[in-house]
């Protein structure tokens, strides 16, 4: 299906529009709540919750015999919540670190779920067909009623996030201070984690238990690169999540047999990769440009010092020197002219064109095409300044780094 067809379908095809709407709400919710999980360094919690939900889905089907989405989502939610409590209990027990607890809960619950799923699929019961789509998600199985469920529950979860914004922010940034202020930390933690569980189990039908956590982590990771404000980060993550959800769901729903989860993950990962590369300030490209700029400046400073040293060997400080001399002094073959030109731009050096006649007479060394460079008076002042402060990156605005106070050694 071509892109125009896809866009046309999104706008006018009822099924596709329904699926896209559900994916948008879901992606926005998962992306927004994922910000808190990522900032609390609980990125893996989403993975544990979604995997832990699998036995709940199968058990809900076995117990009720129903394949209705609300029933399965409820089962997933209960199992996911039990898994989360198990993680919290293991961590509070103090015997195992959090990542180990997450790993244990994830694999134990998921393994149990897979055993149940295999057993159910072996039963002579036709209605179990399609339960395994919960592994990788299948947007095509989503019905308008399911989307209504996602939109309804998702809106409530979003509203709660807005209402308790200040509490969630404080819990995420400084939990000890929150407790000292009298915030009932445990309850706020339960609420925030509960919302994450809700967002995840709502997404299982469309995205699947295996990859759902990507929709939680990836938008937040991407959004973090672009902003230093929590509100902007959460909004941006919601937009990225919605975008990834709609794109992935649309591709999967229109191309037969393509599971939705992996498609959404690919789209979200592309956004993360782009953000890591291209974001201003935090992005890789920006960082490379920044360090190249610093390197250039340090080289120019070093070149200025060379010119200064040369000028002190002559009675007349403005005596010009060929590029070759400066190349030899700095030990650099390339980039010398660039450094000199940048010094010239700042008024610290001047050049004279190599005079053919002078060369012919042997009064000037070097090739005839060489420019000759001399330091200016401003350049000499600058060089003496550099001798005081040293060559290197300048401290930013504000105060210098702290020198440290006298301490009692350990």
């Amino acid at each position: 299906m071509s892109l125009p067809d896809l866009l046309h379908g999104l706008l006018f095809d009822f099924t596709l529009r329904t699926v896209a709407l559900g994916a948008a709400v879901l992606g926005a919710l998962a992306g927004a709540l994922g910000c808190f999980a990522v900032l609390r360094q609980q990125s893996l919690l989403g993975d544990a919750i979604s995997h832990a939900a699998l036995p709940g889905i199968v058990l809900a089907f076995v117990l009720t015999g129903s394949r209705a989405t609300p029933v399965l989502v409820l089962g997933a939610g209960i199992a996911g919540w039990i898994g989360t409590l198990a993680v919290m209990a293991i961590v509070r027990g103090g015997r195992l670190p959090e990542d180990t607890a997450l790993g244990i809960v994830l694999s134990v619950f998921f393994g149990f779920g897979m055993v149940l799923l295999t057993w159910v699929q072996g039963r002579p019961d036709a209605r179990q067909a399609g339960l395994d789509t919960f592994l990788f998600g299948q947007a095509a199985t989503v019905l308008p009623g399911d989307v209504a469920l996602v939109a309804g529950v998702g809106s409530v979860a979003g509203l709660i996030t807005i209402l308790f914004w200040k509490e969630f922010k404080l819990l995420t940034f400084d939990p000890d201070y929150a407790t000292a202020l009298g915030l009932p930390l445990r309850r706020v933690d339960f609420l925030l984690t509960g919302l994450l569980v809700v967002a995840i189990v709502l997404g299982l039908q469309m995205v699947g238990v295996v990859l759902m956590s990507a929709l939680v982590v990836a938008p937040a990771a991407a959004a973090r690169q672009w902003t230093d404000s929590l509100r902007t980060m959460v909004l941006l993550a919601a937009v990225i999540g919605a975008g990834a959800g709609v794109t992935g769901a649309a591709i999967s729903a229109t191309a037969r047999g393509v599971p939705t989860g992996p498609t959404i993950v690919l789209v979200a990962s592309a956004v993360v990769a782009f953000s890591l590369l291209a974001a201003p300030r935090r992005g890789l490209v920006a960082e490379m440009l920044r360090s190249a700029r610093v390197r250039r400046r340090i080289r120019a400073d070093a070149m200025l010092m060379d010119l200064y040293a040369l000028s002190r060997q002559h009675v007349e400080p403005g005596h010009p020197h060929p590029v070759a001399t400066l190349q030899a002094m700095s030990g650099r073959e390339r980039g010398v002219s660039a450094s000199l030109r940048s010094l010239e731009a700042r008024g610290w050096a001047v050049h004279t064109e190599g005079d053919r006649a002078e060369h012919a007479a042997g009064r000037l060394p070097g090739a005839s095409s060489d420019r000759h460079w001399a330091i200016t008076e401003a350049g000499r002042i600058r060089a003496r300044q550099l001798l005081e402060t040293g060559v290197g990156p300048r401290p930013g605005p504000g105060e210098p780094a702290e020198p440290g106070s006298p301490e009692v050694p350990a």
């Binding site: 900032l39 360094q41 103090g94 209402l163 308790f164 914004w165 200040k166 509490e167 922010k169 404080l170 995420t172 940034f173 400084d174 000890d176 201070y177 929150a178 407790t179 000292a180 202020l181 009298g182 915030l183 973090r224 902003t227 230093d228 404000s229 929590l230 902007t232 980060m233 930013g396 504000g398 105060e399 210098p400 780094a401 702290e402 020198p403 440290g404 106070s405 006298p406 301490e407 009692v408 050694p409 350990a410």
Partner: protein
């Protein structure tokens, strides 16, 4: 019953800002604080000193209800911790949070108003004005919009101090406020401490630099799992007590005990350059 009587006999119950009785805290059966009794006087600056692992931070965290004591009783202005901690403003160690968190200086300081705002209500113009005022007190008003990652260590410390000032509480608990800060920050903190004392507020600070204890503080608690000594600096900040507390290895002992402790009305402009070199 018996416990309450002991508490009343031991400390001037009316004059203590915080009273700690028989406090024992253990991590995995390892005692961190052992049967500690301390009464922190109202309206004075108290330093808690002691070697690493002495339980200084644990004492602070017990008072705030951040750790669960194995035994003991804590009263804040006569109230148990849960109610009493509303009267306490906390300045945690700078390293206790992720400074790469996406938020601004003003936003962090405004968090000090969250306690009195209560659930759901959002900080408004009044809260932000209070936060700006507190930033002014620590000389950081020019940094209000700065992302917190871009601050130096000393500036981070002053932001945490401003956040506590916004709480406008009668008691301040500070965990190593002078740890690794620049001279300018140290001067700013000392000035704030002076202002708080002038207002009659109580300050309790974990402190590492022994040589500045007599200059900055009125009272001192020497702690090493047990309480070694506590009281006015002139009385208990002695060589013998320090030796007991630090196990005989006190590098600055000479400088500390030879230093004349000014009696009253110390200027609030003590600068670290004045401190004797190690």
């Amino acid at each position: 019953m018996e416990r309450a009587d002991r508490g009343a006999r031991r400390g001037d119950a009316s004059g203590a800002a915080i009273e700690v009785n028989d406090l024992t805290v253990a991590y995995r059966e390892q005692p961190v604080l052992w049967d500690v009794d301390v009464a922190f006087r109202k309206g004075v600056l108290t330093a808690i000193v002691g070697p690493n692992g002495a339980g200084k931070t644990t004492l602070i965290q017990s008072i705030l209800g951040l750790v669960r004591p194995a035994a003991g009783r804590i009263r804040i202005l006569g109230q148990p911790v849960r109610e009493g901690r509303r009267s306490v403003a906390y300045v945690p160690q700078r390293g206790s949070v992720d400074w790469d968190f996406p938020t601004s200086v003003l936003d962090v300081v405004t968090m000090g108003t969250y306690g009195r705002l209560g659930w759901i209500r959002r900080p408004g113009r009044r809260e932000r004005a209070a936060a700006m005022e507190a930033l002014g007190k620590v000389g950081m008003e020019a940094f209000e919009g700065r992302q917190i990652r871009q601050l130096s260590g000393g500036q981070q410390q002053r932001v945490f101090l401003a956040r506590a000032l916004v709480q406008d509480a009668p008691i301040y608990l500070m965990d190593e406020p002078f740890q690794g800060v620049d001279a300018r920050t140290e001067a700013a903190i000392v000035e704030v401490l002076g202002d708080l004392r002038a207002r009659g507020d109580t300050v309790i600070a974990v402190h590492h630099a022994l040589q500045s204890v007599p200059e900055y503080f009125d009272d001192v608690v020497l702690l090493n799992v047990r309480r070694i000594a506590s009281g006015p600096v002139q009385e208990v900040f002695t060589e013998a007590n320090l030796r007991t507390c630090y196990g005989g290895r006190v590098p600055f002992l000479q400088a500390v005990t030879e230093r004349p402790a000014p009696a009253t009305g110390r200027p609030a402009t003590g600068r670290p350059e004045d401190a004797p070199p190690p």
